[in-house]
């Protein structure tokens, strides 16, 4: 069994299988939008439980992809440990650790997806100016004002919303939301998705708690560092 997980053949064929699975998925998704549209609106685990399990004839590829990624995770982990053990004494340090840094980065990104799929929350809704909405974890969100700068020729040039996050009945953070400007507070991110100024100004807000986001960032940074290093070392191995 260890041999199977340690084999590079497993890596290569799992990658090939994942390519085929994602290919099938890319065709299934536009054909069954009713099933796949909620995939990005909810936690992935909730979608899988509520929607995907009941429609296995269309969603089997998703579960196959999860299984493939799980296999790739175990394979990457075992291969990395083995490679570090084997090469520790016979190659230079950078060459030894660069591929493993890339692998660790990749594993962190997968871990981030796992955490984001099962934990946290995603809530969105319209909030009129001057009102508040209850959030999980004894939090509430108050919308003070909505602003928009509209160009008569090109449409909205910029927009913003002033909000306050309340925790245990006390305001903990205030800020201005806008395009690419979420308000971040202890792992909770608040976004302004859309707005309307008439008849009454309101904003469509999205509140996301994704415990995986930070690990995705760490994984991305590690992946980049390892890639640059490997590029320098493997350039000549042509």
């Amino acid at each position: 069994m260890k041999k199977f997980f340690l084999s590079l053949k497993t890596t290569v064929w799992t990658l090939l299988a994942l390519i085929c699975i994602f290919f099938v998925g890319s065709y299934m998704m536009p054909m069954h939008q009713g099933i796949f549209s909620p995939m990005n609106d909810d936690l992935l685990y909730s979608w899988a439980e509520r929607t995907a399990l009941g429609n296995l004839c269309y969603t089997w590829w998703f579960f196959a992809a999860v299984a493939g990624l799980a296999l790739l995770t175990i394979n990457t982990l075992i291969c990395s440990i083995q490679a570090v053990k084997e090469k520790w004494s016979r190659s230079n340090a950078l060459l030894r650790i660069s591929p493993q840094i890339i692998h660790i980065g990749f594993l962190f990104i997968l871990l981030a997806h796992l955490l984001g799929a099962g934990w946290g929350y995603k809530i969105s809704g319209a909030l009129p100016e001057g009102t508040a909405a209850q959030l999980p974890e004894k939090k509430a969100l108050y919308l003070q004002a909505v602003h928009a700068d509209i160009d008569p020729r090109w449409g909205p040039r910029d927009w913003s919303a002033e909000v306050t996050l309340i925790e245990n009945d006390h305001p903990v953070v205030s800020g201005t939301l806008g395009p690419n400007r979420p308000l971040l507070y202890k792992g909770v991110a608040i976004y302004m998705k859309s707005f309307e100024l008439e008849p009454q100004p309101y904003a469509i807000l999205l509140v996301v708690k994704d415990p995986g986001a930070i690990w995705a960032l760490v994984g991305g940074i590690l992946f980049m560092l390892g890639s640059f290093s490997l590029l320098a070392l493997k350039w000549e191995k042509a």
Binding site: H113, F228, L231
Partner: protein, 266 residues
């Protein structure tokens, strides 16, 4: 519209002028510059270094479009096909600097002309400033790095053809270098895209056909690098992988947008 034969590179500018006249194109100056590019790029058929005037004009065209729309000109098929042609031109210049005109040039220059032509025939790019959600350095970096990596995959594919035709003994090594650098830049483009998406929409990954195909590209080149570097695959197998990889890249770039509905379209 009458049929015009496109069998020679000479007839392509004539056809494009005809099409633009028919369309009463609004972007007259950039379009004129693009037509001049059609005349300048083929100069490389005489000597690879003669591509430099075309690249110079292409830089001016990109700057002119950026100034006109007050944004990075990388939105829509017209912009991006033009940028892809330019990026391939830059990589060609580096790769062909010490070469004479040869099969490499005869394959790359028509590819550049094909991309330019397709760009010019594509619907006009979105006029006006960038939508606010695209106004971030993460978006700029994501798109620029994506297209630079696509161009490396394209040149890698061409080196693959040279290797298959046994035209050049070291073509496979050149293909490997293009794909290795392309893979690193493509990975970074994906990471920057994830950072942008998190700031814009609260997620660094969306389940859409475009993202799935982007992952297919990434898995495919991961497969190539593992097969070549660790398993030691050599020869025809890896050369074909480099060529097939470029076909997958082009489908991800053009085909997914045309055939599959996705939130991630040009």
């Amino acid at each position: 519209m009458p049929f015009v034969s496109l069998t020679t590179t000479e007839s392509l500018p004539v056809y494009l002028i005809f099409v633009l006249k028919e369309r009463k194109c609004e972007c007259r100056t950039p379009c004129t510059m693009q037509i001049i590019l059609f005349l300048l790029y083929p100069l490389a058929f005489f000597s690879p270094r003669l591509i430099l005037p075309a690249l110079g004009l292409h830089v001016l065209l990109i700057a002119r479009t950026a100034q006109q729309y007050e944004r990075i000109p990388l939105i829509g098929m017209r912009d991006t096909l033009g940028f892809l042609a330019f990026a391939i031109g830059i990589i060609y210049t580096v790769a062909a600097w010490q070469r004479r005109r040869d099969l490499f040039t005869y394959l790359i220059i028509p590819l550049i002309l094909l991309l330019l032509g397709a760009g010019l025939l594509s619907p006009s790019s979105m006029p006006g400033p960038l939508p606010p959600v695209l106004r971030t350095v993460w978006f700029d970096l994501h798109v620029i790095l994506s297209f630079v990596s696509y161009s490396l995959f394209a040149v890698g594919g061409v080196f693959g053809i040279l290797a298959l035709s046994r035209y050049e003994p070291f073509a496979e090594a050149s293909q490997y270098r293009c794909l290795l650098l392309g893979y690193v830049l493509f990975s970074i483009a994906m990471i920057f895209g994830g950072i942008w998406a998190y700031y814009a929409w609260g997620t660094y990954w969306l389940w859409t056909p475009k993202e799935l195909w982007t992952t297919i590209v990434w898995f495919f080149y991961s497969f190539y690098l593992h097969a070549r570097l660790v398993r030691g695959w050599q020869g025809t197998k890896v050369i074909w992988m480099g060529i097939i990889g470029f076909a997958i890249v082009m489908f991800t770039y053009v085909g997914v947008g045309l055939l599959m509905k996705s939130s991630h379209e040009f």
